[in-house]
Amino acid sequence: MAWEDPKVTKLALTSEWNKLLFSKASMREVLEGRGSPLGGVYFSLKHFPANVFDALEQAYPGWKFQGDDFSDLMAKMREGYAAEVGPAAEYFEGGIRINERCETSLPGLYAAGECSGGLFGANRVAAATTEMVVEGAIAGRKAAKMAAENEAPPIDEEQVEHLTQECTSFFDREGSVTVAELRGRVRNLAYTGIGVIRDAKGLSKAVSEMEEIQEVLSSLTLATKRRHHNREWMESIELRNMAQCLLLSARAARERTESRGVHVREDYPVVDNINWRQHLVVRKGGEGIKLTPVPVVSQTEIPKEQIPYEEAIVQAAEALMAKKELS
């Protein structure tokens, strides 16, 4: 484990902070050239004595967990086999900006659950299901009230025409790039440039490459021209949205010159509570991308100081352990 302080290691092994701490630690190994052949790290349970393994199996009968069957893998793990594992996306801290009524900037449009942003700050340690249920109830009630009290707003025919044209234009494009090819590039860029450990150089590269991909999208060619049962067409539209979201993510991540929660900047390894105790609101309108810092609304008083990233985690771990001891 790449964490120096044993308190952080304990946090990684015993709390919901594990996802953050494990992914950073394993990515660090890969970046420093100690990764496994497929670009991950080895995960072994060999240190578990047999009776502890038995107890673990009783906790997960048949080695089944949330619909997945791990029995084959666990049989091999028991023999001392190590699996190759690597970090992957699980939850997005950012998202559509909403207020406490789940309203977006568009009147009548509400957002709830993981697609919304900001509820958990820089690292989600509570359940996303709770967010989904609570915000879903709020958004549902507000939307019903809004719909009952207001006439449906007029539909902007010009915008409908524009969007239809944009989606169907994929059929008219003549180029040499395939969806699969471009999708692979976008995925790779998201992992390497806007991934677990970031810096200005990588983020700038992600920004310029994503802009280039947006250009290339206009010369994308569909092999499948029919309008129904066309996965390739669906993927093209998705790809356009993916490139847009990732470009905005990269711009925001480059702007935030600090490390906080899941956002770790190699070139700014401090939690900056002087300049960055703020949300970064990203807006893309006709005039281009706009990034606006907005102060966090919180009743918790935090000293205005800069703390080295790992020290900030130790502080959080200590606060968490003190709370547990009290309760």
Partner: protein
């Protein structure tokens, strides 16, 4: 007939003519593959016309329910085998 490290499957595909028909594809097998892995491979490397629905890829959501050898199955939970018939448009 195929070698040990590849399998041949029949997949129902919509044609440009507006009708659907079965086509045969030969897929290299890397360890154990499920039917969804097969569809993904064919769509990406052999024939983008092959279409199907999927979401969670791990047996929770049900999006990849389809007819496999005439039976209703989840593509992500069914081990791919040589000679299989896959119809992504039935059994959902």
């Amino acid at each position: 007939m195929t070698g040990n490290d590849e399998i041949a499957v029949q997949i129902r595909v919509w044609q440009e003519t507006g009708e659907s028909a079965y086509r045969e594809y030969v897929i290299p097998v890397d360890g154990e593959m499920n039917v969804l892995n097969v569809l993904e491979y064919v769509h990406e490397h052999l024939d983008p016309a092959v279409s199907y629905k999927s979401s969670c890829r791990r047996g929770v959501c049900g999006a990849c329910a389809m007819a496999i050898n005439g039976k209703r199955r989840l593509a992500c939970e069914t081990v791919a085998e040589d000679g299989m018939t896959i119809n992504p448009f039935e059994g959902a």
